[in-house]
């Protein structure tokens, strides 16, 4: 089973040169730490920045420069600032190539639920619905099962949906899976030491296993 950092590390291998990328809060944010330095990529912050740099030193902290998680940040060379309408014009217009975000549930047809648990406090969807409705490539970073052991890869989502038929790939602590356009999770890679049987038993939705399933490489 992978640690959070390893999930992030595995997802970083999906990043391609020249991509503009939006990283959600949580594990997705960690992905930035594992992107090879020789790749030219740009991170977007939906509150109005292209080119997120490292966190600031104490001296660099600027209250007027935060990311979508409200954390203080810095810029890189070539960064650009803009307003919220322009930011989502980029997202909605398909200019951001890759969105990596967390999920509470994913269904076998690529639906995602990650913004609301009825009966509990509702914080709102923020930019998640715009992101999942727009990006050409959406990768979900999540635990395969909930803390109580229930599968989060389902036939259909039980929680209120954030977007339909949008997730392309899922990286969990157990596996790398692709969503089949016809429905079903195609098992691509196993976490080191995790068997196909275990993944099968922890996937409620249809699991498609073709041929030998390799272990992930880092």
């Amino acid at each position: 089973m992978l640690k959070k950092q390893q999930i992030a590390q595995r997802i970083a291998k999906e990043v391609k040169n020249g991509q503009y990328i939006n990283l959600g809060i949580g594990i997705p944010t960690l992905v930035a730490n594992y992107i090879p330095e020789d790749l030219e990529i740009v991170l977007q912050s939906e509150n109005g920045l292209l080119g997120i740099g490292p966190f600031p030193t104490e001296e660099q902290i600027d209250p007027d420069l935060i990311n979508a998680g409200k954390q203080t940040i810095t810029m890189v060379k070539g960064s650009v600032l803009f307003n919220s309408a322009e930011s989502f014009a980029m997202i909605r217009g398909g200019h951001v190539h890759l969105t990596i975000l967390g999920a509470m549930e994913v269904s076998e047809n690529g639906d995602i639920a990650n913004w609301k648990i009825p009966g509990k406090m509702v914080k709102g969807m923020g930019g998640a619905m715009d992101l999942v409705a727009s990006a050409e490539n959406i990768i979900v970073a999540m635990q395969h099962c909930s803390k109580s052991g229930e599968s989060k890869l389902l036939k259909s989502c039980s929680l209120p949906i954030t977007g339909i038929r949008c997730v392309k790939k899922i990286v969990t602590d157990l596996a790398v899976l692709e969503v089949d356009p016809e429905g079903g999770f195609i098992l691509k890679e196993r976490a080191p030491g995790v068997s196909v049987e275990e993944i099968k038993s922890k996937t409620e939705g249809k699991l498609i296993v073709k041929g030998e399933i390799p272990e992930m490489e880092f």
């Binding site: 912050s45 939906e46 509150n47 109005g48 920045l49 490292p54 966190f55 600031p56 030193t57 104490e58 902290i61 600027d62 209250p63 007027d64 420069l65 935060i66 990311n67 979508a68 998680g69 409200k70 954390q71 203080t72 940040i73 600032l81 803009f82 307003n83 919220s84 309408a85 930011s87 989502f88 014009a89 997202i91 909605r92 639906d111 406090m121 509702v122 914080k123 709102g124 969807m125 923020g126 930019g127 998640a128 619905m129 715009d130 409705a133 727009s134 209120p160 949906i161 954030t162 977007g163 339909i164 038929r165």
Partner: protein, 231 residues
């Protein structure tokens, strides 16, 4: 050039009535109209509807207006951690309309730009789509969304001139420019107010045509929600 200057925040917000439909710039606590919020707290008004991406925190920003029970309804994309907000929401004292962030930005932009409705893919297949027209364009489904316009928009800029031209700083720009354009009356507070002609015409983010009142604010706290430093 038209002079939009007013003396201070108190003068700027003095005619905002109970029941007004307001917009307030800011993302989290960054770029919020601190002086106008303080002046509103002095006013004996209530039942405000506020369009703002977030609802502040318990003891700062819009959270202060919630504490004083001045708000009837929030229209936001993310209302974060705010205990008083949660209490009022669960008790039914506060109405909340949650909108995808990009849809919120575009609805406000549409209000300023005279576009009464537009189509967006955000929210298709979700509860956000309930009651809305769904239409297919080029094989993809979209929702029809309406414009948002305010009685008063309260925005915060870095620099401004007496003609109402505004320049924002960093990510404190966020929703401020669209809200400035979508207000019947737009009140801009700025960290530095200069005479018309001192800002480079090519570098202005919000043209003064959208601003009816402007003043130089003071004592900006600029509270940081998630102070994060390099390890």
């Amino acid at each position: 050039m038209i002079n939009k200057t007013v003396k201070d925040a108190n003068e700027a917000v003095q005619d905002i009535p109970s029941g007004a439909f307001l917009m307030m710039g800011g993302f989290g606590l960054s770029g919020i109209p601190e002086n106008c919020i303080s002046a509103l707290l002095q006013r004996d008004i209530k039942d405000l509807t506020i369009v703002s991406n977030n609802a502040g925190v318990d003891d700062f920003g819009i959270g202060l207006l919630l504490q004083k029970r001045m708000v009837k309804k929030m229209i936001s994309s993310y209302v974060g951690e705010n205990a008083e907000f949660e209490r009022q929401l669960l008790s039914g004292e506060l109405e909340v309309d949650l909108i995808p962030q990009g849809t919120l930005a575009e609805r406000v932009r549409a209000g300023g730009a005279g576009i009464p409705a537009f189509f967006t893919p955000a929210g298709v297949g979700t509860e956000v789509a309930e009651g809305k027209e769904i239409r297919e364009f080029d094989g993809k489904l979209y929702l029809m969304e309406r414009w948002l316009r305010s009685d008063f928009s309260l925005v915060k800029a870095w620099k401004g001139d007496t003609a109402g031209n505004l320049i924002f700083k960093g990510t404190a720009r966020n929703f401020n420019p669209m809200m400035a354009a979508a207000g019947k009356i737009t009140i801009a507070e700025v960290e530095e107010l200069v005479p018309a002609g001192e800002l480079d015409p090519n570098q202005i983010h919000t043209p003064g045509i959208y601003v009816q009142r402007i003043f130089e604010g003071k004592n900006y706290e600029k509270r940081i929600e998630q102070r994060t430093v390099r390890s």
